[in-house]
């Protein structure tokens, strides 16, 4: 790590200005659990840290049963999973945010940082996708909304333009017959990085699946929206067979690599297994 400038943004516009002026080596600082580590190991060059934690809009956690959930991009995870409304309505978010790092990391780490880091293995990403998460992005040209499933464009790459940053992520309200879950596979029991992960959201009416979303992590260059897997469920009764065909469909779209964390064969297989497991958990959670 080298000497780095630090600026505390006073509001959203100030953050945009600091980022625009700072150029490509100005980075948003949320919890810093990715950024500081990368800078210290000289894996990312950083000249300016723009700390957004002192601006309220980045730190919100609001729930309203009719409008849904709004999580500030820098709101620490322990607040997210510690919140009763989140626990009751968005347990898939709890699944993911409770396994990111350990307690110490969760005291700082954020959903905005997990998304901003744009690793295909970022654990909250598939969970946010299946929950219908949408990122509100602010920049020199105003605000825009991007679904989480369309945010990442490659490992460490995303749709953000120069001067842009995520302000918050919002999730639609939860209706009757809906349930969601997220799960990852790691060789150890904690403090590990996903070999593969999957999230599932299902809506069941009269014994049939009327809507579904499936997403995968760590099996391609970006998190994947597994529409085919969701299609395999929609309009069908939830049997072992439909769940298995959804698993196969998820596995079919996985485009993993072989590296020190897993092999292509293992990851494709896990895409199926985790898809099936999360569908079952999602169904169990339906109120």
């Amino acid at each position: 790590m080298q000497a780095v400038n630090y600026a505390r943004a006073t509001d959203v516009d100030d953050a945009i200005r600091l980022l625009s002026e700072g150029g490509e080596n100005a980075r948003v600082l949320a919890g810093g659990t990715d950024l500081i580590v990368q800078a210290r190991e000289r894996k990312r060059k950083v000249d300016l840290l723009v700390d957004v934690k002192h601006v309220e809009e980045f730190m919100v956690l609001e729930f309203d049963s009719s409008t849904g959930l709004k999580v500030g991009a820098a709101t620490p995870l322990y607040q997210v999973y510690g919140d009763n409304n989140v626990k009751i309505n968005y347990p898939a978010l709890v699944d993911a945010s409770t396994v990111i790092g350990g307690k110490a990391i969760q005291g700082r780490a954020s959903l905005g940082g997990n998304l901003g880091n744009s690793s295909p293995a970022g654990d909250s990403l598939a969970a946010m996708i299946v929950l219908g998460g949408v990122a509100t992005i602010a920049g020199p040209n105003g605000r825009r909304e991007v679904p989480v499933g369309e945010f990442c464009t490659g490992p460490g790459q995303n749709v953000l333009e120069s001067g842009e940053l995520i302000v918050y992520i919002s999730f639609p309200p939860v209706g009757d017959g809906e349930g969601a879950a997220w799960e990852r596979f790691i060789p150890r029991n904690e403090m590990d990085i996903a070999v593969a992960s999957a999230g599932a959201w299902v809506k069941i009416e009269d014994g049939s699946v009327t809507d579904a979303r499936i997403a995968l992590g760590a099996v391609a260059a970006t998190p994947l929206v597994a529409s085919d897997a969701a299609e395999a469920l929609i309009g069908r009764p939830l049997t072992d067979e439909t769940i298995s065909s959804a698993g196969d469909a998820a596995s079919a779209i996985a485009r993993p690599i072989t590296d020190m964390r897993g092999s292509i064969k293992q990851r494709k297989h896990l895409a199926k297994i985790l898809t099936e497991r999360t569908i079952r958990t999602a169904v169990e959670r339906i109120r």
């Binding site: 190991e41 029991n189 403090m191 293992q266 297989h269």
Partner: protein
């Protein structure tokens, strides 16, 4: 006194607080990272991006010109490398006896880099950031060479050759005697007894299997570090984290080409070593940077450097063939073990060979061991070096034999178990050993007797052996006027040896543990002491303080004899630490407590100060047996340990908490080897997982409570019956778990780790 059966002890076997405990839990203990000196500079190391390459040129001029940089060094600056060294001969290549030139090149690369992460140059600067910036300004021109990281590949004809001058006259199978041929085989050893042809002919069942294992790192928490100051008068002080301050001193003096007496090593507290902190790495670099800059220089490795450039253990290839009669009696065994030494010769294959068949009585046996150089970091000792790999192969074959004979696996081992008088693989008869006691304790253990239930749940057992070390240790002791005792130790304390050695002195003298103040000191202040390793420290340290205790007792008696004016022959030293003489003329008792007599020392010739050095070869070999229950998730390939029990002959447990801790630690590391740990290289020979994220040691919640049952078969070669305990427990986990996985899912594995990915490969 030599213990036979376990006597009643007052202090040995209790669990007092460790003397270094408070400082460690309050963060006051001084580790290498805590060193701060006036004018301190900070060092950084440039490491090779290639697995194998010629260094065509190094240009350090831009780095030297950077503001804040005080010195830049390469191999040419290491004084020892200036010495003329004969081309390596077969003798010079014996394990652990690499040539001095190689010792220097392993610190800073010579004409070639031999592995990804090999140190190439080092910088000292005002702060570490400037030093790191300077590294980017060093221009190195490499000519990339073909590389080899797999031990079997390295033995093939046409494999990339690491050291063109290497000649051993040995080819892969140990038969080709052409001595003119380039090779990566640095040495060959063979142990042979009886007649294996006859032995195999007498067998009803013969099983031969091949095994491989990955490279495993010791994974200590504290990275290597060293601070050095080379003063203008030529004296060199080194503060470092090492398992052996004397060894670090001697090795540094050798590399630098300076007299040993010029170097003083001050050992800091050590955050784990497991064998990995026996070699030196940063010490000579820090010293030479200090000489060039006239300032003290501090260096430490980051985690990636620790993985890339400090010794992991060897990867291995094993072939084991065992013949038995229908009643389970082993008639013959034939083994071949090849281990990857890394860039320079010296894998632990020799020790592995000697351990492989140590649990058993086998009249007809041949064991070959091959030391193979390849483009990975130079391996160093790791807890029972060599034994986990070789015994894993043997214990795995034993499990398959038990299955085919339909015998209980413990019974099969009991039929063949080594006992006192049986000759080991080197032809030496065993002294009293506890292998049979361990097997019997396993058989009657509630864990082994319990039922296991559930789908994909299995149980496995295996046993393990390690020699334990003797070697040289030194200490001195001073009795103060109040009877308190300052105990000066040459052994670096890794696993609680300040406590375990103090306890043995207290027991010897009949004083309290609390009145002894132990202290680890530097190389100028105590006699030569070998490394804290080889499970030797409590054994050898105990011997020395036992000897010190005898000297103190004799001196106490002589003082009492002066005071009472009677002959020393009439005075005894009681087990309670009381000096007792015959009643005086009036019939009054003559006795001094230890502390009372201590208060009279100054008036009778001065306080007592004694020193001793000794080297005993009566260390006690030890055995352990492990039992595991586990469950395999067929969907993910992940193995969950449900229950784990280790039974071990510990000789005498001096401090049972530390003994249990050693055994649990060994198991945890062994489970890591069995299930997840491994070096992962890409096709260019780059180490891809040099971090604790991707090199997966087990975390606390990966393991259940690890149950330990201590069997005490005192070592007759030690005053308190001590055998070593720290290394045996890392040996059985790999085969124990491998045998249990077979029981669970019916798949035999021939490679460790049996990671989820490899389990899935078998199941899908």
């Amino acid at each position: 006194m030599v213990a036979t059966g376990k006597p009643q002890y007052k202090i040995i076997g209790t669990r007092p607080r460790r003397p270094d405990g408070v400082d460690k839990v309050t963060g006051r203990a001084q580790y290498g990272a805590d060193i701060k000196l006036e004018g301190l500079l900070y060092g950084a190391v440039l490491r090779s991006p290639h697995a194998h390459a010629l260094i065509k040129s190094i240009d350090t001029s831009k780095a030297e010109a950077l503001d804040g940089v005080h010195a830049v060094i390469t191999n040419a600056d290491l004084v020892g490398s200036g010495q003329t060294v004969q081309p390596a001969t077969a003798e010079a290549l014996e394990p652990g006896k690499a040539s001095p030139r190689w010792a220097a090149e392993s610190i800073l690369a010579g004409p070639k880099v031999l592995y990804h992460g090999h140190a190439v140059a080092a910088v000292a600067a005002d702060d570490v950031h400037i030093a790191q910036d300077a590294l980017e300004l060093i221009d190195v021109e490499y000519e990339i060479l073909p590389h080899v990281v797999d031990v079997q590949d390295a033995m093939l004809d046409g494999a990339p050759i690491l050291h063109p001058q290497l000649r051993t006259g040995v080819r892969a199978a140990g038969v080709d005697t052409r001595s003119d041929i380039e090779t990566n085989l640095a040495s060959h050893m063979r142990l042979e007894s009886g007649d294996i042809e006859k032995g195999f002919a007498a067998a009803d069942l013969t099983i031969e299997r091949e095994f491989t294992s990955s490279q495993f790192h010791q994974g200590y928490i504290e990275p290597q570090n060293a601070t050095a100051f080379w003063s203008h008068d030529g004296r060199i002080n080194i503060w470092t984290s090492t398992q052996g301050s004397f060894m670090a001193r001697d090795a540094t003096a050798d590399v630098l080409g300076v007299p040993v007496a010029q170097v003083k090593v001050i050992p800091m507290e050590i955050g784990g070593g497991f064998g990995g902190k026996i070699p030196i790495y940063l010490e000579p670099m820090a010293a030479v940077l200090s000489k060039k800059s006239s300032r003290p220089v501090k260096m430490w490795m980051d985690r990636e450097a620790v993985f890339q450039a400090t010794g992991p253990t060897a990867s291995s290839y094993s072939k084991v063939k065992i013949g038995v009669t229908n009643d389970g009696t082993i008639t013959a065994a034939e083994c071949l073990f090849a281990m990857g030494a890394g860039g320079y010769p010296g894998s632990p294959v020799g020790a592995g060979v000697m351990c492989a068949l140590a649990p058993y009585k086998i009249d007809n046996q041949v064991i070959d061991g091959l030391d193979v150089v390849l483009n990975t970091p130079k391996t160093s000792a790791y807890r029972a070096p060599g034994a986990p790999a070789t015994e894993y192969a043997v214990e795995s074959v034993m499990d398959e034999i038990a299955e085919q004979l339909d015998m209980d696996p413990i019974d099969l081992r009991l039929v063949n178990v080594a006992e006192e008088g049986v000759k080991n693989s080197s032809g030496t008869p065993w002294p009293k050993i506890g292998a049979k006691d361990v097997l019997e304790a396993m058989k009657s253990h509630p864990h082994y007797l319990s039922e296991i239930q559930g789908e994909d749940v299995g149980r496995g057992i295996a046993i393990g052996f390690w020699f334990n070390g003797g070697m040289e240790s030194s200490s001195s002791a001073r009795v103060n006027k109040d009877g308190s005792i300052a105990l000066i130790l040459g052994s670096v304390d890794i696993g609680g040896s300040r406590a375990s050695i103090s306890m043995q002195l207290a027991e010897t003298l009949g004083v309290t543990y609390e009145q002894i103040a132990p202290q680890v000191t530097d190389t100028d202040s105590v006699g030569y002491t070998a490394v804290t390793g080889g499970s030797r420290t409590t054994f050898a340290g105990g011997w020395v303080v036992y000897e010190l205790g005898q000297m103190i007792k004799a001196e106490m008696i002589s003082r009492a004899s002066k005071i009472w004016d009677i002959s020393g022959d009439e005075i005894t030293y009681s087990d309670e630490g009381t000096v007792v003489g015959p009643d005086d003329a009036e019939g009054n008792k003559r006795a001094f407590s230890f502390n009372e007599l201590a208060s009279k020392l100054q008036a009778t010739g001065g306080l007592i100060a004694v020193s001793a050095s000794s080297s005993h070869t009566t260390q006690g070999a030890a055995y352990g047996g492990h039992i595991v229950d586990l469950k395999v998730d067929r969907d993910t390939g992940k193995t969950e340990i449900l229950r784990y029990t280790a039974i071990q002959d510990v000789g005498t447990a001096i401090h049972p908490d530390y003994v249990e801790g050693q055994i649990q630690g060994g198991i945890a590391q062994g489970v890591g080897m069995a299930l997840n740990e491994e070096y992962y290289y890409d096709s260019d020979g780059h180490l891809m997982n040099g971090s604790f994220l991707d090199y997966r040691v087990p975390v606390a919640n990966d393991l259940p409570m690890l149950d330990v049952e201590m069997v005490e078969v005192p070592n007759p070669g030690h005053p308190f019956g001590v055998r070593g305990v720290g290394e045996v427990p890392i040996v059985p986990p790999q085969p124990t778990i491998r045998n249990a996985i077979y029981d669970a899912i019916g798949v035999r594995f021939y490679h460790t780790p049996m990671s989820p990915r490899r389990v899935l490969d078998e199941l899908l």
